[in-house]
């Protein structure tokens, strides 16, 4: 069988169905060419590239400060993690130090962004499963996180907050107070989420035991992030290779068991608990001090060399490979986009599943098409 997403030659009892590119539950523009036999999927071919903007190539023509702006546009739901990933790689090339206050601010922002991103997953996964109320609850809290970002950097989605050797600007005391207020508000909400969705029997029926990924398959396909941890593999870049001072924070890595849709969902909900803990610690550690390190020129020209940095983004292991030839722009930039790699397993996973479970599996993988296509 060829791997083309176009309609294949079908047997008489088979049917070819296009899921997307405008299907609401693909969260963007993804097309999945499904060949079904009755209710059962016999072949699934994801077709990507509808949102390709060529940002990796674009970065070869832009300076390092400009690339931070480009990095916002990959995974636009957790742009802080993208900012951090690019800045860490560029800092490695430039060999500059980041002040301590900036480190803590970065961690706090990234974890708040992880909460916002997982909240969106929680809401939209609920909608995919036919539970609308959870979405409204999730977006109420997400709005508060976005308000915090708006207060600190002036944007709600494309932050451009984390800069080379520091952050854009310091946060006011009112921000810290407001952030604590939000965390206090948010903690009891997580219990409500469990009542609303997590342990609802209808929701459990639709997600438990659906789309299970075994430990071996998860590692084979190179999954990362909550998708990998839901299968029971204990891998988290924040623990295994700490960056930005994550080694000083006390948090657990939630693990699932079976690797089915519900495990992937609940892994993310529990990650929000851990993120709250990290943000609280980061706020407690905030000491007055500089927020921007020295040694970054207006047009940085790092010495020729290469750097690879990976961080734990909201969707998985987010990596950036940068090659410098001594000019103002990177010679080559490559992004290891977790969504793109997590998406690849769909072609194996969807085979043998029911048509109605396709949406549950697709939703539980939690892809962002801006990152898949870059």
């Amino acid at each position: 069988m060829s791997n083309s997403p176009a309609a294949p030659e079908l047997k008489s009892d088979q049917l070819f169905v296009n899921l997307g590119p405008q299907h609401p539950s693909t969260h963007g523009v993804l097309r999945v060419g499904l060949t079904i036999e009755g209710e059962i999927v016999v072949k699934a071919v994801p077709d990507i590239g509808y949102l390709h903007r060529g940002t990796e190539k674009l970065a070869e023509l832009r300076g390092y400060h400009h690339c931070v702006v480009i990095s916002d546009r990959w995974d636009y739901l957790s742009a802080m993690n993208n900012n951090l990933m690019f800045c860490l790689a560029a800092e490695k090339l430039l060999k500059v130090e980041v002040p301590e206050r900036a480190q803590h601010l970065r961690v706090a922002m990234c974890e708040l962004n992880r909460i916002a991103s997982h909240l969106l997953f929680f809401g939209t996964f609920g909608i995919d499963m036919g539970a609308f109320t959870a979405f409204l609850h999730a977006f109420r809290e997400r709005e508060m996180v976005l308000d915090l970002f708006e207060m600190s950097c002036g944007a709600r989605l494309t932050y451009n907050y984390i800069r080379l050797a520091g952050v854009m600007k310091d946060v006011p005391d009112a921000w810290v107070a407001r952030c604590r207020e939000f965390l206090e508000f948010f903690k009891p909400r997580l219990k409500e989420y469990d009542e609303l969705l997590s342990f609802n029997p209808i929701f459990l029926d639709r997600t438990k035991g659906v789309g299970a990924i075994s430990k071996a398959a998860a590692v084979d396909w190179g999954l990362s992030g909550p998708n990998l941890r839901a299968s029971g593999v204990d891998y988290d870049a924040r623990k295994s290779e700490p960056y930005s001072g994550y080694e000083k924070y006390d948090f657990d890595v939630p693990l699932g068991g079976d690797g089915d849709c519900w495990d992937r969902y609940y892994c993310r909900v529990r990650e929000m608990h851990e993120s709250i803990k990290i943000v609280e610690q980061a706020l407690a550690k905030l000491q007055p001090g500089p927020i921007l390190g020295k040694g970054v020129a207006k047009v940085p020209k790092p010495v020729p060399g290469e750097a690879y940095v990976h961080v734990e983004g909201a969707r998985g292991d987010l990596g950036c490979y940068l090659v410098s030839d001594g000019n103002m722009a990177p010679y080559r930039m490559h992004i290891r986009a977790p969504s793109f790699i997590n998406l690849a397993i769909l072609q194996e996973m969807l085979v043998g599943e029911r048509m109605s479970d396709v949406i549950a599996i697709l939703g539980s993988i939690d892809i962002v098409l801006g990152e898949v296509d870059r």
Partner: protein, 171 residues
Amino acid sequence: MIQYFSEVFGAFFAILKGMSVTFKTMLKPSITVQYPTEKLVPFSGFRGALLFDAETCISCNQCVKACPSYCIQLENAVNETGKKVAKVAWYSIDFGKCNFCRLCEESCPTKPKAVWHSKDYELTFFRRDEMVRCWKKGFDFVGLYWDRATKDFRKPEGQVQIQTTQERFQY
């Protein structure tokens, strides 16, 4: 049979449990605003539509170099003898390309800033001509756009009046 009914009752109680959360939230004040009639004020430091002051600008080209999408263009003014002076003849921003990233504002060396972000979040365009905002001496901060059909400068529509917007809801 017993299992069937226990499942039915289980689902029924789960719905009650979920509805109890809904009822609790129902009694709390509403957190949404009726957008076109009620408008929120963004926090200070919001990165909205860019404003420009042609009087302050020293035409140093820093913002042109700082822009990641190359959406800013400017031309030096010249005096009677044809020598360049530290003023702009014209300055334009293409809002169709603008990333709203604040790199231009940060790079601006003048005090006060000659180019800065307003709180305007309602940038709407009906035609492509309106996207390219132009500033010259004597224009206000919002700027005008060049209408190619009528060949004159026009005032942009769809700017939010921050004075008429309401305060942000406190949780």
